[in-house]
Each structure stands twice: as structure tokens, then as C-alpha cells.
Symmetry: none
Subunit: 181 residues, 4 copies
Amino acid sequence: MIREKDIVRERIISAAMKIFSKHGFFKAPVHLIAREAGVSKGLVFWYFRNKQELIIEVAKRSLPLDIIDSCIEKSLVGRNMLECIGRGYMNKYRDPVHRGLLLHTMALETQSWEIAEDIRRLCEEKIVVIAERVFGKPSTKAKIALRAFFGGLMCYVLRPPKDIDEQTFLENLIDIVLVSN
Amino acid sequence: MIREKDIVRERIISAAMKIFSKHGFFKAPVHLIAREAGVSKGLVFWYFRNKQELIIEVAKRSLPLDIIDSCIEKSLVGRNMLECIGRGYMNKYRDPVHRGLLLHTMALETQSWEIAEDIRRLCEEKIVVIAERVFGKPSTKAKIALRAFFGGLMCYVLRPPKDIDEQTFLENLIDIVLVSN
Amino acid sequence: MIREKDIVRERIISAAMKIFSKHGFFKAPVHLIAREAGVSKGLVFWYFRNKQELIIEVAKRSLPLDIIDSCIEKSLVGRNMLECIGRGYMNKYRDPVHRGLLLHTMALETQSWEIAEDIRRLCEEKIVVIAERVFGKPSTKAKIALRAFFGGLMCYVLRPPKDIDEQTFLENLIDIVLVSN
Amino acid sequence: MIREKDIVRERIISAAMKIFSKHGFFKAPVHLIAREAGVSKGLVFWYFRNKQELIIEVAKRSLPLDIIDSCIEKSLVGRNMLECIGRGYMNKYRDPVHRGLLLHTMALETQSWEIAEDIRRLCEEKIVVIAERVFGKPSTKAKIALRAFFGGLMCYVLRPPKDIDEQTFLENLIDIVLVSN
DNA sequence: CATGAATGAGCCTTCATTCAT
DNA sequence: AATGAATGAAGGCTCATTCAT
């Protein structure tokens, strides 16, 4: 059962994502978020103790951790694993809101312990797991190849080149990564 | 001839890089920069019309554009080109100040026309040039491989893994990129 | 017959006394009072039109008017009168909650017509009545002595000296006041 | 040499005393103080780190500690000592601003360590010193008499009775206190 | 050039109060 | 009676920017 209360909360988070994505976490005033969500400024502070708490909530949703976890859960291996991640990545960051948020969130690392931890997990723990799934073993070369994979994806979504479509990019990137090991 | 004027200006920029790197562009108050530079707050505004101008100045220095340009100027080709860029990248972003700044600067894209233009150049123009130098022709696959290269570098410097040293990472990454074409 | 309604009301007042005593009337937020009373914030406003009304209710109970009135009603004279008042005073303000409230309430004088009136009564009307009872006539000297009496009591309860117990203080104070006339 | 800077600071403090006296420390908004002082709101925070710091500054000036100290320094004894204090007290608190402030400041005790300490000194340390000067020894009775003295003074200034003038009140009060020992 | 006092806009946050349920 | 979500009005405070000295 979805409660009214949660709906409002989600509406505020959605609005925050939009506003944060455009203005950045620290230049975005709370009153803009409230207006976008169609609630009063005071209500934002009823659902979130302070702006920082809202920032964290938004930031956590902006990282691709959810995508990676869901692909890991599916027990995919080899190319399928990379395709799952790549497609999820593309889907998520096709949305300009998420795209903008991704950078802001990564830049948040120096300022929030929680976000720093999430990014660490993303860059260290998960890479090992994926390396095992894709290459059978987390060798140094495998881990480096995966960094090239993730970096390539990030480069693409941050600034999608007009002359290369998603599908083409993904296939080629996966080829590059796989052929190397 | 280096004038006194320029020395002070540079001192302010250095201080700004340090402070911006730690606090982010918008949370960093000018008075902290002034103090770090050992000058008065007013003086900062004598050298820079406003904070935005200082931000742009710092941001432009934070991107790897200078490294790429210097490698291009050297007329390197093939593996040598990638090694030049890779090594320059590592050298620059080994400094935690630049590392922090890189993220903040990229996140600035939505808010500064100048920075957006620089990033565009980095991601589009330069990629083509480098593709020609490295692979002989700017094919789609070549451009994708270079995005994997840059993305991989970025992943590394943003969060250097403790179990892979710079040299190893670089050699492997270049292998991965080169073998693909 | 004590009704449920009155019990809740009293619980709110008690909670308010505690919170007001600690934080002061204006820094004490209503939600703290509600929590202390174990009721919802909304309910406080069902029993009291607004915060001001609750403040007045608490403030009126914080002055020693009740003590003085009860002693006057007992038709005491001379030393007995002073003893009655003194003992009542000590009993009431031994409680740190009342002690804190006394000061806050007196400071309220400039801001509440009702409290100002109560304090005026305390300092002017009652003094005359007591002067008659204690000294037989409300001479100037008698009224001054009584001010010394009340002031002495206030000094004691506001900051009870560790080396003088209540009983000793009271006896000596009464002696001082009585011997003067 | 009085510097411009100190003049502005003093102007702010004066304005604060006026406003605090009328509204109480916590109901008085800083912008009223700024307007009263003829400066911008921001400037108040240039001279005082925060409102609390301004409150403390004002509160410390509101207690009669300065008067008592100056009388102690004059090496007065007996009745002269009491006259000095009494007259200083009357002079200071004849000003309605100081009169209002006195209560607000005393009520501040629970909320500021510094003020609590000042009040403690006033009520404990100084009383002993004065007892020695006035009565030759700090006997229990002497200390109680002095509390009656201070309490009497406080009662008078807090609500000056229209039918007793300062001089009369003071003489009688001193008589009462002195005759007792 | 250099300083730092001064300004004012704007932000985060609190809180009394209302009201639908 | 009772709850707690919702509102809106301030308030404290920060900070970019200006300017007299």
C-alpha cells in the first residue's frame, strides 16, 4: 500500500532531482524545489531534517549502483553482464536530469561521508565482482579493462556524441573490453 | 619578466584551487581564498571582476586540455601519443587538489558557457585529432576506444586503486585500447 | 469531580512549566511542550488559543501571589505573618522549575498586560496589606522593610547559598525586618 | 584615542540594549537593532559573531557588578559603603533601559554559562567582601542582611513606588540593614 | 595596490498556527 | 478530542560585492 505521505515525499525528491541537476546541489535554493514539487517550503523540512539530508537522498539515487547491483543479481556472465550494465547505464542516464546529477554527485565525494562510501563501493568492490563474472577472474588486466568500460560509458553519457548512437557505442565498447583479455 | 602583479594573481589562483578543491566552487567563500593567499578579501576583487571569473580561471586549468594540446604539438603518433597523454594525466591528477577540481569543473558544465565549450572541445574535437594520430583514421571504433581510454584514466585518478600502480595501469590500458583496432 | 479534560490540560501546563523554566518563554517551542506532556502539538492548541495564552497561564502560577493571598486569608499578624509568607516562599521555589520560572515571569512584565498587573498588585497592593498586618500600620519604613523582606527572599531562592540553610535564613531575615520598626 | 570602529561597535551595543530591554533578548530581531543603530543588519554580524555574543555583551553590562566593584575599590566602610552601592544602583537603574535589561539578564542565567558565572560572583563572592567592609566580619547574619539590602534595592528599581522617593528609600533601607547587626 | 568596514540580497531553518481526517 | 501534515512568516546568518581610506 502506497501511503499519501510517501507520495509527497517522492514528489519532493523528484523535484529536488530536477532542480539540483540544473543548478547544482549548493546553488539550488530549497524554495525552488518546494515550488517544483507544489508544496510549501516548510514541508520540505518536515520530510527532510535539512537540505543536506535531501541532497544525500538524491545523490544516492544518482549513482549507477542500482543498475550494477541488479545485473549482478541476475547471475549473468561474460558479454551478457556487460550488456546488462551498459544498457542499464544508457537507460538511466539518457534522462538529462540523471546525467546532470551524476557529475554533481561525484563531486560531492569530498563533502559527504555517505556518498564517498557509495562511490568507493562502486569503484572497488563491485569492480572485483564484475571482473569475476565477466572474465572469470579478477586479474589486474580485467579490472583495468572494466575501468575502461565504466569510464567509456561515463564519457558517452556525459556528452553523447551526435555521430555515434547508443547501440553502436555499446557494442564496440564491449568488443574492446572483451578482446583485451 | 615576471611582474609582482602576476605573482599575486597567481597566488590567489593557487589558493583558490586549494579551497575550491576542498569545498567546491559554490560553497567556498572568497574570504577563505583570500586568507589562504595571504591577501585581503578586497584584493581578490581587484584581480578578478567577480567570483565567477575566478572560478572560470581555475576551472580552465583543471581540465586536461593543456596536457592533450602539448602532446598533440609534439607530433607523436601511435602508442607514443597515448603514453604522452597518459603520463601527463597521471602527473597532473596525482595532486589531490587537481583531482578534486576535475570533478567540480566537469559538474560546472551546466552553469558556465566557457567551461561547457572547453569540455566539448575535449570530448569532440580533440578526440578526432587524437584518433587520427593514434589509429591513423578517426573511425567510429577508434573514437570509442579513445573514450574508453580517457574514461579509464579518469576512473583511475578519481579513485586510485591501491593494488594497481600508475605504470601498470597505464601500460595495460594502452594495450587494451590499441589491441582493439 | 475532576474531568479527563482538566487532567490533560493540567498535564500540558505542567509540561509547559518544565520546558519554559529551562528554555525561557520565547525560546521554548510548543512541540517540546507537547512531547513532554505526551500529547500532540495540535492538542495544545485545542486547550489554549495560542502560545501566549499558555504563557500567561504558566506565568500567573509562577508568582508568589498565591502564597501571599493564602497567608493574608489566615488573618495572621506580626511575626507569624512573615513566617507564613517566608515558609510558603521557600516551599514553592525550592522547586527548580518554579525558581527558573520566577525570573522569566518577572521579565515578562514589559510584554504582558496581565502579568504586569499581577506584579503591580504584588509590589503595591499586597505590600500595604501586609504592612498593616505585620507592623500595625503601612508606614513608609514598614513598606521599605517589607521590600527588603521580599527582596531578601528572592535573592535566597534565586541562588540559594550553600552555607545558609532555609530555616536560618528565614529566622534571621525576619529578625532584621522586625527589629527595624 | 577612540577609533571609529569602536564607536560603531558601541552604537550597536547601545541600540541592542534599547531593543533588548523592550522586547527581551529572544523576541528582539537583529534587524531592529541594526535599524536603531543606523547600520545594516550584516554589520551587526561583522562586530559580533552571532546574536548570542551580542546578548552576552549587553547582559554583562546590565548587572550591577560594575557598581559594586567601583565601591569596593574606593575602600569605603560601614554606612558609606552601602550608600555608595545604593546610590550607584539607583543611578544605573533609573534608566528604564537598564531596568528592563536587569530582569532579562537574570533570566538568562539558565542559558548562558558566562552570565550564570557573573551572577554567581555577584551573589556569593561580592557579598562576602561587602559584609566585611560594612559589618567588619562576614557573619551569617551580615550576609543575610546584605541580601535583604540588595533584594530591597532590586524591588525598588524594578517597580519604583510612587509614594517613596529614592533618597528616602535608600536611607531607610540602610538603617534597616545596619540596625540589625 | 591594498585593506577591511559596510551593505543587502538571499538562503536555510524554525516555529506558531491551522485544518483535514 | 486528538493527530500530525501542511503552511507561511520571520529570523539568524552568510557571503559576494562595493567603496572610502
